[in-house]
């Protein structure tokens, strides 16, 4: 998602970077590029205007403090980044658990936003953390919504409270009310209430969801919104805010190529944080929403933090601990580690999604979406054809060893060469990253995976260069204005 926005913004910054010295008219030109990009991305007009004004003012204020030779484009970039994070909701917020269980979460939103699927994802997310959620079928309106929730519940292994058949039969308020009593006797610690989709302008149905709210007194009301939504997002969000009210926002269908301006608009105009995002058809395609990560993604910096977390989930504890230890000792990341990771990776499936989170991913969107998964197998076969010594220390790889490996893997010598080159580059980045102070070990360890993977697979050149950019971003700038911008971020 946000791909087009990020590629447009990246374009604006590239042209800015190509200038030696930035003048105020460059800033105006960049601002007008950003304005068009944001409008194209469905950000509400009022939000766009406010955003542009803030960027312009801050950029102009920063200009005189910059000495020539400093990376002025980078400073402006940081200003935009900071501003984006601020709009997207600053630091994210987690669900508030009730003092006396069950914690009640109620979902509300337009038709087709993805509430029912989301209910299942949310239930799985919390069940995996050791909670005991109960799904409640209070959408008695859409034909077979109840059945859908039951199917979803079954596939995530979460019970569904559905005393009414739906299809217009039954009272959703009663169902919600009964579910609380049921949850209390059966000791479920969380209740997730799915409600029917409704339009913001439908006062009758808005009253119905208010009635449900008054009965279940939810700890969290989540407004579920389609990331593809246009300018109406603002009107609809306002209507729900004034009607049933909500505490947080969930963005769905983020795996599309929508630019997701709705997210920016809703966060800005309702002041409610985006708490979760949902990005795929599988019930595990769901995560907490991180504003700073999304801002990085909009700006084309990649989403390495999410990647690190996904990687952590995918790798078994022992291997992860081993790798962490290795890192702590200051040992190098070797091809043997790389192979282990490749194996864990191939168990995970959707390589293209993981690659999509890499820095610079927007530029190779097409390649990533159509990533040839068998590339992993081919890469694995090359590493597997190496001796343990070669895996530990690729420096020993002379011509004859490379020829032997190519023969063993059924690949060309060039393939071996290119893998080794990219791996060496990745290894170098990892060393730099480790030197970068203040990075949590888990993140460094997680980043090792994408850095290695990104460089070694798929034959693209972005891994090394962009990785360096990232490493650079982590270090504090010597320039006061720049550092201030960083610290603020």
């Amino acid at each position: 998602m946000f791909d087009s926005l990020s590629s447009k913004l990246t374009g604006a910054f590239t042209s800015l970077r190509s200038r030696g010295k930035i003048t105020s008219s460059d800033i105006d030109a960049t601002c007008s590029d950003i304005r068009a990009a944001l409008l194209e991305s469905d950000v509400a007009l009022t939000v766009v205007e406010a955003f542009i004004e803030a960027i312009r003012a801050k950029s102009l204020a920063a200009l005189p403090t910059l000495q020539s030779g400093t990376n002025q484009a980078q400073v402006i970039f940081e200003i935009v980044n900071t501003e984006l994070i601020e709009i997207l909701g600053g630091a994210g917020r987690r669900v508030r658990f009730a003092k006396n269980p069950p914690t009640v979460i109620m979902l509300a939103g337009l038709q087709g936003a993805g509430k029912t699927t989301l209910a299942g994802k949310l239930a799985k997310f919390y069940a995996d953390q050791g909670n005991t959620p109960l799904l409640v079928a209070s959408d008695l309106q859409r034909p077979n919504a109840v059945t859908q929730l039951q199917v979803v519940g079954e596939s995530v292994g979460v019970p569904v409270f559905a005393p009414e058949p739906g299809n217009g039969v039954g009272n959703p308020m009663k169902v919600a009310e009964q579910s609380l009593a049921y949850a209390k006797t059966k000791l479920y610690n969380m209740v997730i209430v799915d409600t029917a989709g409704r339009l913001g302008v439908d006062t009758e149905l808005m009253q119905q969801v208010i009635d449900i709210r008054n009965v279940v007194k939810p700890d969290e009301i989540l407004f579920v919104v389609d990331a593809m939504m246009g300018q109406d997002a603002v009107r609809t969000a306002k209507a729900f805010q004034d009607g049933v009210g909500f505490d947080g926002v969930v963005l769905t269908k983020l795996d599309g190529d929508a630019r997701g301006g709705a997210a920016l608009s809703i966060a800005k105009l309702t002041g409610k944080p985006i708490m979760f995002s949902s990005n795929g058809e599988k019930l595990t395609d769901f995560d907490i929403f991180y504003p700073e990560r999304m801002a990085s993604r909009i700006l084309g910096l990649g989403d390495v933090a999410t990647l690190a977390e996904q990687a952590k989930k995918a790798f078994d504890g022992e291997a992860t601990a081993k790798l962490e230890e290795k890192f702590a000792r200051g040992d190098d990341f070797t091809l043997a580690d790389f192979l282990e990771q490749l194996e864990a990776m191939s168990k995970m499936g959707s390589m293209s999604k993981l690659l999509g989170m890499l820095p610079g991913a927007g530029a190779m969107k097409k390649q990533i979406e159509n990533f040839d998964e068998s590339e992993i197998v081919r890469t694995k076969s090359i590493v597997q054809s190496m001796t343990p010594l070669e895996r530990e220390d690729p420096k020993v790889l002379n011509g004859s060893r490379r020829a032997r490996i190519a023969l063993g893997a059924g690949r060309k010598v060039q393939d071996v060469n290119s893998l080794v080159d990219k791996f060496t580059a990745a290894q170098k980045i990892m060393r730099q990253m480790r030197k970068g102070a203040g990075m949590p070990p888990a993140m460094a360890q997680g980043m090792g995976i994408p850095a290695g993977m990104g460089a070694a697979i798929g034959g693209h050149q972005h891994g090394g260069q962009k990785g360096q950019q990232l490493a650079k971003k982590k270090s504090k700038s010597g320039n006061p204005a720049k550092r201030a911008a960083q610290e603020k971020g």
Partner: protein, 279 residues
């Protein structure tokens, strides 16, 4: 209230609009999801209009952005096959049911094919609708190959010699090339038995500029012949549909305006335009 009404009222009796009016018009058009490209185009061509012939000029300008293709369903001599496609949650299944009710009410025999075998309970949802509007639904099992369900449906409808076969397909995001390939296959396989006369893309009126990307990629994959705009009973104006017509020359054929099976109508460009401009 139409998106141009305020503008028209303001410049009435004036020789031209002042900068403030243009800015307000721009905000209005952008707010209706026409998108920056179409908005700037319309404003550029509107710059020359005079206050008193504003309505006629605007109608003409907007008309030039509408598709000239026919808006009635293209009929086949054999069974007329209509495929309904779109991204997730736009209202495909509901639209299929409404279209069936619409065609049935004018005396046609209609068969529905439940080729959304992916989403949980989508087949049940269509069957419930089938019972409600009184048409037969041909379904496979959940998780069945959608192309095989569609093929069976085509074969059986041909035998029955019904007037229409409407195929409901699973929602898919247009950037998933494997799912788009699956959709192409559904069409290909149906065409072994019956020609597909119409591929209708369902666009949610709340959709923003992403709708253009949706239409473009669906059209590349399965030659979309028309649009169904849904959820027009909400506060969304559905301006992206206009942007799609303008950019891709795909006509809007139907609009959905509610959850009942009769909340559905043919798209009437002239009344639509007068609604935008003068109401």
């Amino acid at each position: 209230m139409g998106i141009f009404s305020q503008f028209v009222a303001k410049i009435k009796g004036q020789s031209t609009a002042d900068p403030q009016d243009w800015q307000e018009l721009e905000a209005e058009l952008l707010g209706a999801d026409l998108g920056p490209t179409l908005t700037f185009e319309i404003i550029r061509s509107a710059k020359s209009i005079k206050g008193d012939d504003a309505i006629a000029s605007l109608t003409q300008i907007l008309n030039s952005h509408l598709s000239a293709k026919p808006r009635d369903l293209i009929m086949s001599n054999d069974v007329t096959v209509v495929m309904v496609v779109g991204v997730n949650g736009t209202g495909k299944t509901t639209s299929v049911a409404k279209l069936a009710a619409y065609l049935k009410s004018s005396g046609n025999s209609v068969v529905l094919a439940a080729a959304d075998t992916f989403r949980a309970a989508a087949v049940d949802q269509l069957q419930t609708w089938g019972k409600r509007v009184g048409v037969d639904v041909i379904a496979g099992k959940e998780g069945a190959e959608p192309a095989s369900v569609a093929f069976d449906a085509a074969t059986r409808t041909k035998e029955l010699n019904s007037d229409y076969l409407i195929i409901d397909t699973a929602g898919r995001l247009h950037n998933k090339s494997d799912l788009m390939a699956e959709l192409e296959k559904v069409k290909r396989v149906v065409e072994k038995t019956l020609a597909v006369s119409e591929v209708l893309l369902v666009i949610d009126a709340t959709t923003g500029q992403n709708g253009i990307a949706q239409a473009k990629i669906f059209a590349e994959a399965v030659e979309v012949t028309g649009l169904i705009i849904t959820k027009l009973d909400g506060s969304a104006r559905g301006g992206v549909a206009l942007a799609i017509e303008s950019a891709l020359d795909i006509p809007i054929k139907f609009i959905g305006t509610g959850e009942g099976d009769t909340d559905f109508a043919l798209f009437e460009p002239s009344s639509y335009l007068s609604g935008l401009i003068s109401d």
